[in-house]
């Protein structure tokens, strides 16, 4: 680790009614990966926004390369070499990779753009980083992982000295994360200062040198990663101890009745001859790499996408599910991996979202019975401990974990017995994650059945009673939780990928 390249001292920032940052200290050295951790709302993003000039600090100082600096906007920070790689990728899908990397600073040739130079430079950049991407390819044709690599390449082409990764792994598969880490280690060797924001503990242990923890806008402390334990860090983050031990044994009795049976389901290219059973009170984990066809299976089962063939039995009865309406009628609820797009109507209130799937129950003649609607949504706010000022609040103003609770409330209000959780805790912080887990356990103990699709191994091992592993649209195996290890799951998930 080299000398300190960037130091933030006593940064203070208030918004109306919120003290977002309370005299926070943070520094980055050359050639280190410094993790910035904390629950959602702890102030990590605000701190980084203050650094890159998106927010103006109230007090404190930023010392960059030995000089006191203040960036007034993201462009200034970028020009000085401080760059954020955002969680949500800022790429233009219809342009090529090279066009994206040089967007806004295209090399000129006469009146036009020097395409050849742009492609050549991109290629050099990728060679330099040892990434294999064709600069001529359209951005939207790349996987999320590759797109992220492009974003990093773009950052480096700006002659970055400090790169901030804001939850880079949220949308990546395990393999892509490995690739990302190779690049990060390479950047480290070149004496760049790297800030790594993530919720995933195992990544922090793998890649970072130091960890700084924030909680409720205050600086809690900085540890050397090697000398600290996972529990220690989590403890600092949430101020309490959380156990993430894998489940030892199935909580579902083996003779529990089968509530859902899927036979030879085929849909599109991503679902091939999928058959499985779900028991009452069971959490069935669907594991696999991204693109293994798990979401596609769920969507086909739910009637959201057309299926070519396959039979579905619910409580032993053969049913025909052609659309989500049918699925909902049979008591299936689907919680999408992309909550904002498929889960909630963010521009509407908590109450309206709660009754979205069962509005018929709240009609009084032609009119909606708003009082009953408010009552039921208040009831679920209480039961699920949703953090919202009231049921009138727009869903867009809630945090990810609370939005997820609104979706759960929607299906519970509809009285669904089979719930499909697709990546239930994506983008949700550790504390809220545990609440969602607790809720899921509570639901199955009440006799609901859950299909849980998850790309996080710890989540699969912690929550599932039984695990189905998918790879390239097929089910590659079924493992009881008592025999499951991350090794035998990964083995099945990657079996025919060479």
């Amino acid at each position: 680790m080299g000398e300190v390249i960037l130091e933030m001292k006593q940064i203070d920032k208030s918004f109306p009614g919120v003290h977002a940052l309370d005299h926070v200290d943070f520094n980055v050295r050359r050639g280190e990966v410094h993790a910035l951790m904390g629950e959602n709302g702890a102030g990590k993003s605000t701190l980084m926004k203050v650094l890159t000039g998106i927010y103006k600090k109230d007090s404190g100082s930023i010392i960059y390369e030995g000089k006191e600096t203040e960036f007034h906007n993201a462009k200034e920070a970028q020009d000085a070499g401080v760059i954020i790689v955002h969680q949500e990728l800022n790429m233009v899908g219809d342009l090529t990779v090279a066009q994206n990397i040089f967007l806004g600073r295209e090399p000129r040739k006469g009146l036009g753009i020097d395409d050849k130079k742009m492609i050549k430079d991109s290629r050099e950049l990728f060679d330099h980083l040892k990434i294999e991407i064709d600069p001529m390819e359209k951005m939207s044709d790349l996987t999320v992982g590759k797109q992220q690599m492009c974003e990093i390449a773009k950052a480096i082409s700006h002659d970055a000295k400090v790169i901030i990764f804001d939850e880079p792994s949220a949308a990546l598969t395990e393999k892509e994360i490995e690739d990302l880490f190779i690049i990060i280690r390479d950047l480290k060797k070149r004496q760049l200062g790297i800030v790594y924001i993530s919720h995933r503990m195992d990544e922090i242990k793998q890649i970072t040198d130091r960890v700084t923890v924030m909680r409720d806008g205050t600086y809690i402390g900085t540890l050397m990663t090697k000398e600290s334990t996972k529990d220690e860090i989590i403890n600092m983050m949430v101020g309490r101890i959380i156990y993430e031990d894998p489940k030892q044994q199935s909580a579902c009795p083996p003779d529990a009745p089968i509530v859902l049976k899927v036979e030879n389901l085929n849909a599109g290219k991503m679902v091939k001859n999928v058959s499985f059973e779900l028991r009452k009170g069971e959490i069935l984990g669907f594991s696999g790499l991204m693109g293994a066809g798990r979401t596609e299976t769920a969507r086909a089962l739910f009637g959201a996408d057309p299926k070519q063939s396959g039979t579905i039995y619910i409580n032993g009865e053969k049913v025909d599910i052609k659309s989500p309406q049918d699925a909902v009628k049979y008591g299936i609820g689907y919680l999408s991996e992309d909550r904002k797009r498929y889960g909630v109507v963010v521009g509407r209130s908590v109450a309206e979202n709660t009754t979205m799937a069962c509005l018929d129950n709240y009609l009084k003649g032609f009119l909606i019975n708003k009082r009953a609607e408010k009552n039921v949504s208040d009831e679920y706010i209480k039961r699920l401990a949703t953090k919202t000022p009231n049921s009138e609040e727009l869903v867009m103003n809630l945090s990810g974990g609370n939005q997820q609770k609104v979706v759960i409330a929607k299906w519970l209000a509809r009285d669904c017995d089979i719930l499909i959780f697709d990546e239930p805790t994506r983008g949700i912080d550790v504390g809220a994650k545990n609440e969602i887990y607790k809720l899921m356990n509570q639901l199955v103990s009440e006799g609901k059945s859950i299909i849980m699709i998850s790309s996080e191994m710890t989540e699969i091992l912690r929550m599932s009673d039984r695990i189905v592993v998918m790879c390239e649209g097929e089910i590659k195996g079924e493992i009881d939780i008592s025999e499951a290890t991350s090794e035998n799951i990964m083995d099945k998930a990657t079996r025919n990928i060479s």
Partner: protein, 317 residues
């Protein structure tokens, strides 16, 4: 929120500013051309406002779902022309003509709905095509002749009384705006307190999530265009009552006045429509008014010369 800040919000709201501009425009025009300030001009304006606002109601719904209906302009004229032909050429009672007008409007709305809601065509394209078809159908049905509906004094002229009544002293009272206000209140409830309204807004806000909640999105999406058609049908009746003859093939561009009115007059961006429909229909008060000014802006000179004979003619009738 205390009273004062509420009041200040009202003053600085776009709707209020538009309202003030409206009054200033009226005063301005009256000063520029004293003819404008006459009662007859006001009556004519209400006539026009009535069908523009009915169109804006309908197209407003499609705007809320994130779509648009471009067929309402030529459609309105075509439906009125077809209705007129039924009365004139087939010698049917007026009521039949009115029902036919509404029915044709609903059929066209349904076609739009199927194209957009069920077949997922881009609303702009689909309804642009329907708009051209409507123009053609209108011309075909009337054999391309100008088609008058019965005058107020003729048999069957009673339908004028729906939109405008004459007192014994001979004063015309444009009661059409009463229906508009009633409809405004009704639609406000429809949007905010009925299943239909709730789903329409949800579709506009997040169609996928609404579909995945088990809502029959296709049905409601089609219905939006059907209801839009119904409103345009009603507007066609108001149009027939306001204009001496229906000239088939006309009407292109009227949809823009209605759409422009719904957006600008309401002071609403698309985003706000979807997120805050509460006062959408209150805001629609303006577009109609705005639209007549749009009309009068360009035709101010003509207004007194051209429209006067019509109104005057009807007065004599």
């Amino acid at each position: 929120m205390n009273k004062k800040s509420k009041f200040r919000n009202l003053l600085s709201s776009q709707e209020f500013i538009v309202f003030i501009i409206l009054i200033l425009l009226y005063v301005g025009f009256s000063v520029l051309n004293p003819q404008f300030a006459r009662y007859k001009t006001l009556v004519t304006m209400f006539d026009y406002a009535c069908f523009y606002m009915l169109m804006a109601f309908g197209v407003g719904l499609t705007l809320i779902t994130g779509g648009v209906d471009l067929s309402i302009g030529t459609g309105l004229v075509a439906y009125a022309a077809i209705g007129g032909t039924v009365i004139r050429s087939f010698e049917m009672p007026v009521i039949v003509g009115m029902l036919v007008t509404l029915l044709v409007a609903v059929i066209f709305g349904f076609i739009n709905g199927v194209l957009v809601g069920a077949m997922n065509l881009p609303p702009f394209l689909a309804t642009l095509c329907t708009s051209m078809i409507a123009r053609g159908v209108g011309s075909l049905a009337t054999n391309n002749y100008a088609t008058p509906w019965p005058m107020a004094s003729q048999p069957g002229g009673w339908f004028h009384n729906i939109f405008k009544i004459q007192t014994e002293a001979g004063t015309l009272i444009p009661i059409g705006f009463i229906w508009v206000i009633v409809l405004m209140i009704v639609m406000r409830y429809v949007l905010n307190s009925t299943r239909f309204g709730r789903y329409v807004i949800s579709i506009g806000s997040n169609k996928e999530a609404t579909m995945l909640s088990g809502v029959n999105v296709k049905y409601y999406h089609v219905m939006v265009y059907v209801v839009c058609g119904l409103f345009v049908g009603a507007a066609a009746l108001a149009y027939a009552a306001a204009t001496p003859t229906i000239q088939p093939g006309q009407g292109a561009g009227m949809e823009m006045d209605a759409i422009g009115g719904a957006i600008v007059g309401g002071g609403i961006s698309f985003r706000r429509i979807r997120n805050n429909s509460w006062d959408f229909y209150w805001n629609l008060c303006h577009p109609g008014a705005e639209s007549w000014f749009a009309v009068y802006w360009s035709e101010c000179e003509l207004a007194t010369d051209y429209y006067r004979p019509c109104t005057a003619g009807r007065c004599i009738d």
